[in-house]
């Protein structure tokens, strides 16, 4: 490891590991992601240009790597069961938890990467639009639009199923 990347690993490695574990739901996958993220940094340390905080940069990198892994349907379902479904729990009149999870899986499985990225930032991380904009690299207004798009898609999906 170069000195800078080694230092970042020691000071921020836990951020990547915690986030990956949170998104993927298991420690083994999270540790794979930790390695992937820092190997990528080693191959291109100049990618971090200091225009955001190290943590913001690592959040983005970690989400990207996790989203790639989430293309695996099984892993994606795990994420949705634990994170997105509780945030959008249906009221008591609606479906069982299992049905809800299936709906949410179906929804997020259909989201393009950018929207999935935003959905995670908003519904899992609880980020503000400003923070999402910094993550995605867009304006705050566009971040708000993306959040609304994800929200509408989720609501439509749930309405159809009720």
């Amino acid at each position: 490891m170069t000195a800078d990347v080694a230092t970042i690993y020691r000071t921020h490695g836990h951020v990547v590991l915690r986030r990956a574990r949170r998104l993927l739901g298991n420690d083994d996958d999270a540790r794979d992601v930790l390695q992937q993220v820092f190997v990528a940094m080693l191959k291109g340390p100049d990618r971090f240009r200091g225009d955001s905080s190290v943590t913001t940069y690592l959040y983005r990198m970690t989400t990207n790597v996790c989203l790639q892994r989430m293309r695996n349907v099984r892993v994606r379902a795990n994420l949705l069961d634990r994170q997105v479904a509780p945030a959008y729990a249906l009221d008591e009149r609606s479906e069982s938890a299992a049905e809800t999870s299936a709906l949410v899986r179906q929804l997020v499985a259909s989201l393009p990467d950018e929207l999935a990225h935003v959905a995670i930032a908003c519904f899992v991380d609880g980020m503000t639009h400003e923070e999402i904009a910094e993550q995605v690299g867009c304006t705050r207004r566009h971040a708000g639009n993306l959040v609304e798009a994800a929200r509408r898609a989720l609501q439509d999906c749930l309405k159809e199923a009720v």
């Binding site: 836990h14 951020v15 943590t55």
Partner: protein, 196 residues
């Protein structure tokens, strides 16, 4: 203030927030039990992560003065031959000096030197005659790590081949060097526990 995001709390823990934002976030966290728990979780994971990192040895890259210097950290020496085994401190004719690289600057360690995670320690030894050497350290958790074992010829301020990069384990840490006339066949890590 609404509860901060995970990103904000992570930035708070690693010290990346601007002063005003950090103050605002800390104020909220102090008054919000769920957020206090979130921060405690992050801090717990940070400590666990750092603690799990191996104590790494790395080539010493910073230039250090070759001037002889007094030992700075307590040195416990056991000597082979006819002398009564026991603990010694500096001044026996064989001693260890310690240099610290802190944020790119190198200085000789003083007694009870305060160091930080990421700092590098470089030990040098002064030997009147060839000795078999073992260097190990015990951190605040009681974990003992062997950093060097081997034979060195006589000389002044001989740098050991590797420096020590400190991890995030906080607390007092002691380094012990054994100067032995005979090979250290009996000096296993278990033995070090007794020596300490």
């Amino acid at each position: 203030m609404i509860c901060p995001s995970e990103l904000r709390l992570d930035q708070l823990v690693v010290g990346e927030l601007a002063v005003a934002v950090a103050r605002e976030t800390r104020t909220h966290v102090a008054e919000c039990l769920p957020c206090r728990r979130r921060v405690a979780d992050i801090e717990r994971e940070r400590v666990a992560f750092v603690h799990a990192l191996p104590r790494r040895r790395a080539p010493w890259v910073a230039g250090i003065s070759a001037a002889a210097a007094a030992a700075a950290i307590v040195v416990v020496a056991t000597r082979g031959g006819g002398e009564e085994p026991g603990n010694r401190t500096k001044g026996s004719g064989e001693h260890m000096s310690v240099y610290v690289e802190h944020r790119g600057h190198v200085h000789q360690a003083s007694l009870d030197e305060r160091v930080e995670p990421g700092d590098k320690l470089q030990m040098t030894l002064t030997l009147r005659e060839a000795r078999h050497i073992s260097l190990f350290g015990t951190d605040a958790t009681g974990a003992t790590t062997v950093y060097f074992e081997g034979r060195l010829d006589a000389g002044t301020d001989i740098p050991l081949p590797n420096s020590i990069i400190l991890d995030g384990t906080l607390g007092r840490e002691s380094y012990v060097v054994l100067f032995c006339a005979a090979p250290l066949t009996a000096c296993t890590t278990d033995t070090f526990g007794v020596v300490k």
